[in-house]
């Protein structure tokens, strides 16, 4: 008979570590999908996901069962992703001279006729990833949660541990930062 989540967690807390494996199997897709929003390389995605599960095991005693386990796990995942972003800040100031041809074409199309530049184009996806990589960790986290995953400010506050006013301030600054990066890209491309 399939054990419930509560049974599995109780078993792990009693010392039966093997009961943790079904939880890892059940929720790893969600963890991996979230990690892929913040890391491009698959090796980094795997490292983040592994770190999430190791932390989840260590901190399982702190799970009180008031909310679903998935919510608790997602909080841990988001915070681990944020730690990863802070620890892997790459050079964000380099010029946009290495845009690929599809990316350049998409931008050209956007400049001439914005409605013809499709959001579904692979080039658009590559461009947005490039822009997100240049954001500061805070900005990237907020933009991803608020604008891309369409979460509410209250949800973001719960996931990150930030207060609601702080989320709003960081969201405002993140949008401004993204616009500055886009302006720089336009300048580098056309001047």
């Amino acid at each position: 008979m399939e054990q419930t989540e509560a049974d599995l967690i109780a078993a792990v807390l009693r010392g039966n570590a093997a009961s943790f494996e079904p939880l890892v199997q059940r929720y790893s897709p969600r963890v991996f999908a979230t990690a892929r929003r913040y890391a491009r390389r698959e090796s980094e995605v795997e490292d983040i996901s592994q770190e999430v599960w190791l932390k989840a095991f260590e901190k399982l005693k702190s799970f009180r069962g008031e909310a679903p386990f998935e919510h608790w796990l997602m909080r841990l995942t988001v915070r681990t992703c944020y730690d990863f972003l802070r620890g892997h800040q790459r050079n964000r100031e380099s010029p946009f001279s290495d845009l690929t041809e599809p990316e350049n074409d998409w931008l050209e199309r956007f400049v001439v006729q914005p409605e013809t530049a499709s959001e579904n184009a692979a080039a658009a996806k590559l461009l947005v990833e490039r822009i997100l990589e240049r954001l500061s960790p805070q900005a990237r986290l907020v933009i991803t949660l608020l604008e891309i995953e369409d979460r509410s400010v209250k949800e973001i506050a719960q996931l990150t541990g930030w207060s609601v006013p702080l989320v709003k301030v960081r969201a405002f600054r993140a949008r401004a930062e993204m616009r500055r990066i886009l302006a720089k890209m336009a300048t580098d491309k056309y001047l």
């Binding site: 570590a17 999908a33 959001e119 658009a124 886009l182």
Partner: protein, 101 residues
Amino acid sequence: MNIAELQTKLLAAARANPPGDRVPYAFEKRVMALLAARAATDPLVLWIRGLWRAAVSCAVIALLLGAWAFLNPKASTNADDLSQNFENTLLASVDQNDQAQ
């Protein structure tokens, strides 16, 4: 170039292309193996294991000594002799005074 519109379009592109949720083969097995290895090498776990072993050994020794003391008959009344000697020593000075008088 309309930067605000570009921002809107690019964010829409990100929403339209969510990342995959594929999990590498046997990932959960790797996680479990890591957890098992961590438990084995954690210094606190090793310390606790050592303490438990010491506690069990001490309990066994205490039981054996208790059993030996219980089962061995009393060899002499050394304890009685000792208490009598102690009393005699204490009262010796009083006895001497009595004799002197």
